[in-house]
């Protein structure tokens, strides 16, 4: 079974702090994704990576950056956390080729910025 893990289930940070959210997958997937989920808005893509050191902006990249130094790990960085970044953050991975695009999700990190 594909396993996607996220470093924290719950996180509380102060405004202005630098925040790191870590995601690790164990199935050698090329693609990795970061989403945020807010009530009534569904999942919105923040950033996407299709290979090590490669990244692409999603629909809402402002205020975020990402890092992918190893294939299995994809980090989301909030350079200076703000209260409007309080949300549920979901990481996912998928095959680049050979699959049909289905994504496998981690359990999520609920981030509260005070």
């Amino acid at each position: 079974d594909v396993k996607v893990t996220q470093s924290s289930r719950y996180l509380v940070k102060r405004t202005g702090e630098k925040v790191f959210l870590e995601c690790v997958q164990d199935m050698d997937h090329e693609n990795m994704f970061w989403y945020r989920q807010d009530p009534g808005l569904g999942l919105r893509l923040i950033y996407f990576s299709y290979d090590v050191k490669m990244k692409e902006k999603g629909d809402i990249p402002e205020g975020y950056s990402v890092s992918r130094e190893k294939k299995e790990r994809f980090s989301l960085i909030l350079e200076s956390a703000s209260t409007n970044q309080t949300s549920m953050y979901l990481c996912a991975s998928s095959l680049y080729q050979g699959g049909e695009g289905e994504q496998y999700f981690g359990p999520g990190t609920r981030l509260t910025v005070t």
């Binding site: 996607v4 693609n31 994704f33 009534g40 808005l41 569904g42 999942l43 893509l45 996407f48 299709y50 692409e56 999603g58 979901l90 996912a92 998928s94 680049y96 049909e100 695009g101 289905e102 994504q103 496998y104 999700f105 981690g106 359990p107 999520g108 609920r110």
Partner: protein, 114 residues
Amino acid sequence: AQSVTQPDIHITVSEGASLELRCNYSYGATPYLFWYVQSPGQGLQLLLKYFSGDTLVQGIKGFEAEFKRSQSSFNLRKPSVHWSDAAEYFCAVLRMDSSYKLIFGSGTRLLVRP
């Protein structure tokens, strides 16, 4: 542009009753379609997927979905709902631009009456 619409924000059914969750997509060719389920506080789990072939697809937990090209729909069904099915359900379509990104609907929250 591709899009996914889930017209029902909330649905309430009695335990043992049948269920149908609606999903409409916009895309000219045959889409790759998915249904995911999210239990409270959890990540998303894939229920089923459709790429081609038989338009009625079976998934896990007793769910099925039918692809209807003429109606641009991919509705999720279950003949008899269990209390444990209470969750949020997301329909998604694969972007056909080789990016392997998914476009998600805004979700339908299912409540189950005892």
